[in-house]
């Protein structure tokens, strides 16, 4: 089975302070740690497990700046066979439609039975690159996938619905799947592992190599036009409890008792 996994390098903003650039055009990136998008990490792991169980190859691809090479090397260390970096300069400020257009050109270079990507990205989180890519390639898709079992010329998947409910689907191959977190336990990548793939060549493709015209991928091709970032409203905002941990603990217990949470 030939598998393509589309990944993205994103900033880790869950535990970091996010500072807006003046004017709200973007965020300050200097102090943020970047790495593989969490959902994509599960997608890469799933692809490698499928290869280990059923044979085939795993190719990882990303569109981004040269720093994205670190993310691709990490995927190679996990067990991917090949990696492709698409020069991100023409894709600056690209929306998910333009990203999917670029990825569809990457997909067209191979004969992939399965294309995997994360169900969501941790930065803008539209969650639509996968199904749009499937639309551009005219292939069946399933989103929010929590298990993948190849079945001859088909693939059987479960999708996560709400409240602990899942649905089972059968898709004709080739297909595009977007992978939900928790589908597997991604393997640990050691420094040694990354060193071993240090010499592996990662081709860098430009738009010409992909057969794309500059107007296909420039900001004017965006369907979702970003107009600015802003700080979220303060909301009702919590009353902050202060003091030593012991004082805070007593206050918490008082509140819980008063509200009937404990006797």
């Amino acid at each position: 089975m030939q598998i393509l996994v589309c990944v993205k390098r994103v900033p880790d903003t869950a535990d970091a302070e996010v500072v807006l650039q003046p004017g709200g055009s973007g965020i300050e990136e200097e102090d943020l740690a970047f790495g593989i998008n969490e959902w994509d990490n599960y997608a890469v792991e799933e692809a490698i497990r499928l290869k280990e169980a059923h044979g085939g190859t795993v190719t990882v691809a990303t569109i981004g700046p040269s720093e994205s090479e670190d993310v691709l090397r990490r995927c190679l260390a996990m067990g991917a066979d090949e990696a492709v970096l698409v020069d991100g300069a023409p894709f600056r400020d690209a929306d998910p439609y333009v990203v999917a257009r670029g990825l569809s050109a990457v997909a067209a270079r191979g004969a992939y039975d399965l294309i995997l990507t994360g169900a969501l990205s941790g930065d803008h989180g539209f969650g639509i690159v996968g199904p749009i890519l499937a639309g551009y390639l005219d292939r069946p898709h399933a989103t929010l996938v929590t298990s993948v079992v190849p079945d001859g010329k088909h693939v059987r998947v479960t999708r996560e619905l709400e409240g602990g409910l899942e649905e089972t689907l059968r898709l004709e191959l080739p297909a595009v799947l977007t992978i939900q977190t928790g589908i597997n336990e991604p393997r640990y990548v050691s420094i040694m592992g990354i060193r071993k793939v240090r010499a592996k060549e990662i081709p860098v493709l430009d738009t010409a190599a992909l057969g794309l015209a500059p107007e296909d991928v420039g900001a004017q091709a965006n369907r979702i036009v970003h107009t600015g970032l802003a700080a979220p409203p303060a909301g009702k905002s919590a009353e902050m409890l202060r003091g030593t941990p012991a004082e805070i603990a007593r206050k918490i217990l008082d509140i819980v008792k008063e509200r009937g949470g404990m006797a």
Binding site: G130, R139, G164, L171, E239, T244
Partner: protein, 322 residues
């Protein structure tokens, strides 16, 4: 008059709650921008569902056919594509759920209508559409417009608008024939699977101790369990803890896990992603402990503590034991 359509999400004969939030948005757009609101019900034997929606909106379009019994993006996109062509709505809305996320991006490609997803606000702007979304772990709001097109699509985050109440006079239900599907269909719905029967039921607990990503390691789970035991609480968690297999799925609070309505909810090291917060209902008190003062959970909590969660857990154990 330009139209706003909402695509009704339903499963096993029940309209999902998120649909009624879309009704509120559609009515708001009707009042503010003069859009004509209507609901679209797609399925099999959906007459009762269509009648339900007619109590909320002046017009309901129903497409009822056996192959539409279980949702598949292929069949539903074909039906909606046909409706978009004849109805020519300015805006078509779906909830940002497993239903909307599967259907609308593909419908966007097939119809050529641009789609904004996971929107917290949707508004008309001139002859177009503007949206507000939450990005970068809920720490930033992003505003966007959709590129000029004949029509627009948007999926809306659950909880962004209050659920609507019934309208004074019932609306009209129109049946539409089911169009031909693309052949051959390449997806097949095989069935639903309930999560295994839970050994723990967190949904009825009056006191919940919940841990998130801040728990950092499986080895720290016993500390939280010990606190829960000492307080007579149940231990629950947010998604990252389940993804890492540190706790079972039955303890997950949120859209893909359980909905809880405790008298008090103690959240330790939980950032406050909307998928988690959507699982906490009712008038109970929410106390959040997080070392990040900018964590979105502090905007939703009643009480907040900016501190290392383990220090507070230790102090609570000591105080509760005293």
């Amino acid at each position: 008059m330009p139209k706003v359509l909402i695509v009704v999400e339903h499963r096993c004969g029940t309209v999902k709650d998120a649909t009624f939030e879309l009704v509120t948005l559609a009515r708001k757009l009707a009042d503010a921008s003069g859009l004509e609101p209507a609901a679209v019900v797609i399925g099999h034997q959906v007459a009762a569902l269509a009648d339900t929606l007619a109590r909320y909106l002046p017009r309901v379009v129903a497409v009822d056919a056996e192959p539409l019994a279980d949702f598949r993006y292929e069949t539903h996109a074909a039906v909606l594509g046909d409706i978009l062509e004849t109805e020519a709505p300015l805006l078509t809305l779906a909830p940002h759920t497993a239903f909307g996320m599967e259907l609308f991006p593909r419908l966007s490609v097939e119809s050529g209508f641009p789609c904004a997803t996971d929107c917290m606000e949707v508004d008309t702007e001139g002859s177009g559409i503007s949206v507000t979304r939450s990005v970068y772990s809920g720490k930033v709001l992003s505003r966007a417009t959709l590129a000029s097109a004949a029509g627009y699509l948007a999926t809306v985050r659950s909880g962004s608008y209050p659920a609507a109440v019934e309208a004074g006079s019932p609306g009209a239900v129109e049946q539409r024939p089911c169009p031909a599907f693309p052949t051959p269909l390449r997806t097949e719905h095989l069935g639903y699977r309930e999560a295994a029967a839970a050994a723990v039921d967190i949904s009825q607990a009056p006191l919940i101790v919940a841990v998130g990503r801040g728990i950092k390691d499986a080895d720290n789970i016993p500390q939280a369990q010990e606190l829960a035991d000492r307080l007579g609480a149940v231990l629950a968690c947010s998604r990252p803890v389940v993804d890492k297999k540190w706790l079972d799925k039955e303890r997950q609070v949120g859209t893909s896990g359980r909905t809880v309505k405790p008298k008090a909810y103690l959240a330790f090291g939980i950032s406050g992603a909307f998928q988690h917060m959507a699982g906490i209902k009712g008038p109970g008190v929410l106390i959040a402990v997080n070392k990040d003062p900018k964590a979105p959970i502090f905007a939703a909590a009643d009480y907040g503590v900016v501190e290392d969660m383990f220090k507070i857990i230790d102090a609570l154990k000591a105080e509760a034991g005293a």
